[in-house]
């Protein structure tokens, strides 16, 4: 019998090397295929309403880094002082997608149901929302009685104020409430036209900075369940589900970038909202962004709806079924794990 091997040791080693080289080339080729993101020939225009708030950092990063373009979207950013304004522009057809707190959404849910919530930007925020002037004689909660307090009615600021006052044994009727948006409130408290303001970052932080020793800080509490949501018109959302998916995918990509490159993210965010990077850094490291749709959103909205009815801000009406205001399909398509809200899934039927 011929005891000769079919292949010599050298040939076997050579063959293994050849297979390794071919595998490496194939992997490189596939990787390059993945890396080479070609920009679509025509980008789809999307009008997006944003605010200079920290919750909008993912959208700002996506805009500055042209992440929307990579998903085939040409997003034009409209920077409003508050989400309420953006939401109204959306309902008036001036915007396609907007970011807003749930309070204005709840207000409108009693009047109309032609919009959808697409996702909730989770954020951990425990920063001050009430700033007062010491020279107005305010040193404690009790001192707020009879003082001129600015708040944007119909906004999350008002809901926060009511809840906070309730928590501290006060009532909004004990004070002189002035309806004012956040930038105007900031100017007013600086000039002493108002004694205190209920607002949000960065306006409260800027007010504290401007007043210096004269600022009185009231620590925030976590009894207020407000959520920052991305909304779109019902018609627009159902007819442009792929655009919504691309938009949400971009926001998720931006959130991942923020986790990896927080310094750069702060820089991009600062460029858009005009707030100094040092100020943003004060709270940015405590932020933990995530796009979800969960049961808490429903509880949050129902709680605010009860608040709206209880205070007579709307006429007596049943609590809307907020499941009908939620469009989970695009987010479920982008990140199935992000949707934990109990809804009927078509696949199950």
């Amino acid at each position: 019998m011929d005891n000769k091997r079919l292949l010599s040791l050298k040939q076997i080693i050579g063959l293994i090397f050849l297979i390794l080289i071919i595998t490496a080339v194939v992997i490189l080729f596939i990787n390059n295929q993945n890396v080479a993101v070609s920009e679509p020939l025509s980008l789809i225009k999307v009008r997006y309403g944003s605010v200079p708030a920290i919750m909008e950092a993912p959208a700002h990063v996506a805009f500055s880094k042209h992440l929307f373009r990579e998903q085939g979207l040409d997003v034009s950013l409209t920077l409003n002082p508050d989400g309420k304004t953006s939401f109204e522009q959306l309902l008036n057809g001036k915007l396609d997608i907007a970011a807003v707190m749930t309070t204005p959404v709840v207000y409108k849910s009693f009047e109309r149901n032609d919009f959808y919530i697409l996702g909730k930007i989770d954020h951990f925020q425990k920063n001050d929302r009430l700033v007062a002037r010491r020279d107005s004689g305010i040193n404690s909660v009790e001192d707020l009685k009879g003082k001129r307090v600015a708040v944007l009615l119909g906004s999350s600021g008002q809901f926060y104020m009511d809840s906070w006052l309730l928590y501290n044994g006060l009532n909004s009727e004990d004070m002189d409430i002035v309806d004012m948006n956040a930038p105007d409130s900031l100017e007013a408290i600086k000039e002493g036209r108002i004694d205190a303001m209920f607002s949000w970052f960065p306006f409260t932080a800027e007010a504290e900075l401007a007043l210096g020793e004269n600022a009185v800080r009231f620590p925030a509490n976590d009894i207020v369940p407000t959520s920052w949501v991305i909304v779109a018109g019902k018609k627009y959302a159902t007819e442009n589900e792929d655009i919504i998916e691309a938009f949400l995918r971009t926001i998720i990509t931006a959130e991942e970038f923020i986790k990896k490159e927080p310094e750069q993210a702060i820089h991009f965010h600062s460029e858009i909202n005009g707030v100094s990077e040092s100020l943003i850094k004060r709270i940015f490291n405590n932020m933990n962004f995530g796009l979800t749709l969960d049961q808490n959103l429903l509880l949050d909205m129902e709680e605010q709806a009860r608040w709206v009815i209880r205070n007579g801000y709307v006429e007596e009406a049943p609590i809307p079924n907020y499941l009908n205001f939620i469009f989970p399909d695009p987010l479920r398509a982008v990140d199935s794990g992000a949707v934990t809200i109990i809804t009927r899934v078509e696949d199950d039927n």
Binding site: L298, E302, I319, N321, L323, I342, T343, R344, D348
Partner: protein, 536 residues
């Protein structure tokens, strides 16, 4: 047991153990996976059941349609999850279906807006019922979950025991193996090492591998030991031969040194004599140089002489050719007019006049023959010969027909033997044969048993010959006969120009051949000539 077998067993047993272990591990993996999947499913059911509990609480608190819708969705989802579970869940499934009925009743009771008391009473009872059922289901599911956990722990425990047993087997096997190696392999190796260390090629006969406890055919190491012993024997023999070789070489080197010494002395002597010789040689070289210069001059002179000789020859040939041509015309006139004069005066003239005219005619013919021969002679040297193969037998046949009449008249017998083919110019060679044959006929005695033989002699590198038994000539003239105009016979009756044999010599030599003659007076003559023989 041989080491090869031992190694095979050492390899196969652990491999078998590992294979069995892998199979058991794979089985365990799938069992574990099954339990984990079951746990995940139960966990999902627990979460969803907890969610449905929360929704029930919420519903009792707020009665929002959203909560009822979600409750029913969740109930449906949990039922779907139950369908994926094992038989353990069948009793729970019935409870869960009942729970759905209870919730539907609760929902319809509230929505029907019964009287406050009825609603409250119904709601409270249903609420209690639902909550009890939910808690019962949750408790039982958790119990199943715990059971699954216990199963998993058991599996892990079994796994651990199995691994420990197999590990123990492997360890025991390794120890036994090490022990066998220690006993079977190490001692022979150590002995071999000792044997190698103590090996002395000069005193090999003292050591035997068997002295070290080796047994032939025990295993590969014993074979190795035996082979090693054989090798050391061969090595010792080689060493002995090598030692002898070295001694011989040393002797030779000594002799060589002596030789070298003698040789050096000899070389010294020879060098001295060589130096002397060199001096002499230098002198003789100088003389040779002078001689060479003289030779050069002499050669130059010789060349000049040669070229002038060639010129003279050519001039001479040209002269004889011209003279022959120029002489023929007046001769033809003399011959023609003599012939006419003979006819004219044949009857009228006196006999003396006729005789004189005859003399004139005869001499004119002689002269014409002489001129013809001279012309032929001169042509031999001047023309370029075109050579080819010549069939000498055929040539002789042709000649014989021409000479047949003459031979008969003179009563000469011609004997032609077989002749080899020659290489040369056909016309010239034919001329050679004609001239020699004419010569032989001329000198043959009529009627005296005259015989002419033509043949080829193999002696002396071979030569054609023509022999006659005529009057012959003195051998001292054997070279003169080939000179032009030279006649060695005193017999005036024999006609001839004295050119024929000269032509023969010239033609043969122009073919690179030789010609010679042997003769004795009264005994006939033999003429030989050589030609290049065709080998075809």
């Amino acid at each position: 047991m041989t080491i090869k077998k031992h190694f095979s067993i050492s390899l196969i047993i652990p491999i078998l153990l590992v294979v069995v272990l892998i199979i058991i591990n794979i089985d365990n993996y799938y069992r574990d996976k099954q339990i984990t999947e079951s746990q995940i499913l139960i966990n999902k059911i627990i979460i969803e059941t907890s969610n449905i509990c929360s929704l029930t609480d919420e519903y009792i608190l707020y009665q929002y349609p959203r909560i009822a819708e979600q409750w029913l969705i969740l109930h449906h989802n949990i039922l779907s999850l139950f369908e994926q579970t094992s038989n353990d869940f069948i009793p729970l499934l019935d409870d869960f279906i009942d729970l759905g009925h209870s919730f539907t009743k609760l929902q319809s009771g509230i929505l029907k807006k019964d009287t406050a008391n009825t609603k409250s009473d119904l709601a409270m009872r249903l609420n209690t019922n639902i909550q009890l059922k939910e808690r019962k289901i949750l408790r039982e599911i958790k119990a199943i979950y715990l059971l699954e956990g216990i199963k998993k722990i058991k599996l892990q425990k079994n796994n651990l025991i199995m691994f420990s047993i197999y590990g123990g087997i492997v360890i025991i096997f390794s120890i036994i193996n090490a022990f066998i190696i220690r006993k079977k392999i190490i001692p022979p190796l150590e002995s071999l090492l000792y044997f190698v260390k103590s090996f002395d090629p000069n005193n090999f006969s003292f050591y035997k591998i068997l002295d070290f406890g080796y047994k032939p055919g025990q295993n590969e190491l014993s074979d190795l030991g035996m082979e090693f012993e054989q090798m050391t024997k061969r090595l010792s023999e080689s060493y002995r031969k090598l030692t002898e070789e070295i001694l011989n070489r040393k002797k030779l080197e000594l002799e060589l040194a002596n030789y070298r010494k003698n040789l050096e002395e000899l070389v010294e002597k020879r060098t001295l004599s060589l130096e002397e010789s060199n001096v002499k040689l230098a002198k003789s070289q100088q003389a040779t140089l002078y001689l060479l210069e003289d030779m050069k001059e002499a050669r130059a002179e010789l060349l000049n002489l040669n070229s002038s000789l060639e010129r003279s020859n050519k001039d001479l040939e040209a002269f004889s050719h011209t003279v022959s041509h120029d002489l023929r015309s007046p001769l033809r006139a003399v011959l023609g007019f003599s012939s006419k004069l003979q006819k004219h005066i044949a009857k009228s003239a006196d006999p003396e006049s006729i005789r004189l005219i005859n003399v004139i005619s005869e001499n004119t013919v002689k002269m014409q023959n002489l001129i013809t021969d001279l012309l032929a002679y001169s042509k031999v040297g001047s023309s370029n010969l075109s050579k080819s193969e010549i069939d000498m037998n055929q040539l002789m046949e042709t000649l014989y027909s021409d000479y047949e009449k003459v031979l008969k008249e003179k009563e000469i017998k011609l004997k032609i033997l077989s002749l080899p083919k020659a290489f040369g110019n056909y016309s010239m060679i034919k001329q050679v044969m004609i001239n020699l044959l004419d010569n032989a006929i001329k000198f043959s005695n009529k009627g005296n048993k005259a015989l002419i033989s033509i043949g080829y002699s193999e002696e002396n590198e071979g030569a054609y010959y023509i022999k006659d038994n005529g009057c012959g000539f003195d051998s001292k003239f054997s070279k003169d006969v080939f000179q032009i105009f030279k006649r060695v016979t005193s017999n005036s009756k024999i006609e001839g120009t004295g050119v024929g044999l000269a032509i023969v010599k010239r033609i043969v030599e122009s073919h690179g051949g030789l010609v010679w003659a042997n003769s004795k007076p009264g005994k006939g003559s033999s003429f030989f000539f050589t030609l290049k023989i065709s080998k075809k």
